[in-house]
Point group: C2
Chain length 301, copies 2
């Protein structure tokens, strides 16, 4: 490790309001979602995944997407994003005033079918269509690759396959690729190897890493990713996410701890730690999964 | 990060029975301490800090040191260690059949006074005396340097000061130096810088790192330490340690998660993960601090 290779600042992409909350078993009032997002903005978050335009039949928690976007406080320099599964979702996002959207697919064939009910190649086609439609509307697209560091069904995913998908997504026009450790299987070796390979293959798109909770190993993965040249880290306030009914799906890395680690290392994020702690506490107060996890926790912390 | 620089195996020094349990507010029955240690041995731990010969007036939890050592199962290849504060403690350890002991002092003058009621130079003299007496009895000495990565009273401790102490301890004859992150202040930058400097200054002694819980940042510190050439990692089953009445004193890094991370990286420890999980669960069942921490937890996990 050579500290001089680390950047002096890095970007944090906050996914709490969408990825953090979407699996909560009980509907969270729109007002609370709006409050959380406003607290995140107040804490200095400038890149926020605010909601999802996946059909409410699949993700009922995000049925209030339009209302959330209408009610959150807009502030210059704050970029709101939303997940869109298809061109229809893109159109809803555009109608709600968004200029940036997020797509998702998996590097694992089995996981893609399970999660999105389509093959990897069908997902690539769908995302190509979203990108084409977005370009026509002046909207920018960020693209997740789920299970990039391993799949609960298929095990390790070859880094070359992840890189090929990343290059394809970049070719469609996505401005940023985010490598997802969907079920917390990554370790510093895979975080470095996958991150580095994808980084060397991309030409224009920036590269993010999206780690999930793995009893703290996620912070070693962040360090390895920094060394691999990752430029953006996704996190969720309070470590929210996952689902109490799906043991493989842990929550997201906690943004407040990510910020704490980066700041200790002298890497600026633009986020105020105390205000971020307040946003995290609020996020956790909304979460039944978080309460269930802490109450019946079997792990080391 | 270059994986080829990592070792293919590393040693784990298990401190749960001593450092993990010593601050528990209620006395833990000797039988339970013996059970925990036997479970750790069963899991494959080969280096275990079993108890302490600090006077029971200061550490009443370890008043049963002799009885613990008499009752734990001895097995070839398993090395038991115990903390000794002075030559009197060394003599008790020798009488109890130990061939290895541990000493502790702090790199911070303020912390040393607070924790040990003596100056750093007085501690160095005391440890020199322990080493001299140990050599005469064929006993080997392992030496902790507490607050090596920062002190709650003095802030950052110059790495040179830590290295000078490490060299002095090596000069007294200590076979291993363990750098303690007593209150969880380390980050990957300091873990690497302090670890690397001390490593370059030592000639014979092996070098260990002893991290405390910091919401998961401790695992990034382990990765940075591996890169700095650290050869041994201390951990406590279940992440035990710390004290609910001392907010600055977090528990030790959880051995079971440390093992999980290292094994994922292809670094062998000789420890069985499932049996280690059983030992960790048992450790946590003994711990009131752990229960208090999980019950009223305000952190991200």
């Amino acid at each position: 490790m050579d500290g001089s290779r680390f950047p002096t600042q890095t970007r944090i992409f906050e996914v709490g309001p969408r990825d953090g909350l979407q699996n909560e078993p009980h509907f969270i009032a729109t007002e609370h979602k709006v409050n959380l997002t406003n607290l995140l903005v107040e804490a200095g978050c400038r890149l926020i995944e605010a909601t999802s335009f996946v059909h409410p039949k699949w993700v009922p928690q995000m049925a209030d997407a339009e209302e959330v976007l209408a009610r959150i406080e807009r502030r210059p320099g704050v970029l709101f994003n939303a997940l869109v599964p298809n061109v229809k979702g893109l159109e809803r996002a555009v109608a709600a005033g968004l200029t940036h959207v997020v797509t998702i697919m998996s590097a694992s064939e089995s996981h893609n079918v399970k999660n999105l009910n389509m093959s990897v190649s069908a997902s690539l086609e769908a995302i190509a269509a979203i990108n084409a439609a977005a370009a026509g509307r002046g909207v920018r697209v960020r693209s997740y690759i789920a299970t990039a560091y391993g799949c609960p069904f298929e095990g390790e995913i070859p880094a070359e396959r992840v890189a090929d998908i990343a290059v394809a997504l970049e070719g469609f026009g996505s401005y940023e690729i985010s490598l997802g450790d969907t079920t917390g299987m990554a370790h510093p070796g895979s975080a470095f190897a996958v991150g580095r390979l994808v980084k060397t293959r991309l030409r224009r798109a920036s590269l993010a890493a999206h780690f999930h909770r793995a009893d703290g190993i996620e912070f070693a993965n962040v360090l390895a990713s920094l060394e691999a040249g990752i430029e953006v880290f996704d996190g969720a306030a309070g470590g929210l996410g996952g689902c109490p009914y799906a043991p493989g799906a842990s929550g997201n890395i906690a943004t407040e701890t990510l910020v704490e680690m980066l700041h200790r290392m002298g890497i600026e994020t633009g986020i105020d730690r105390e205000k971020m702690a307040a946003a995290a506490a609020y996020a956790k107060s909304l979460s039944a999964t978080q309460t269930a996890r802490e109450g019946s926790h079997s792990g080391p912390r």
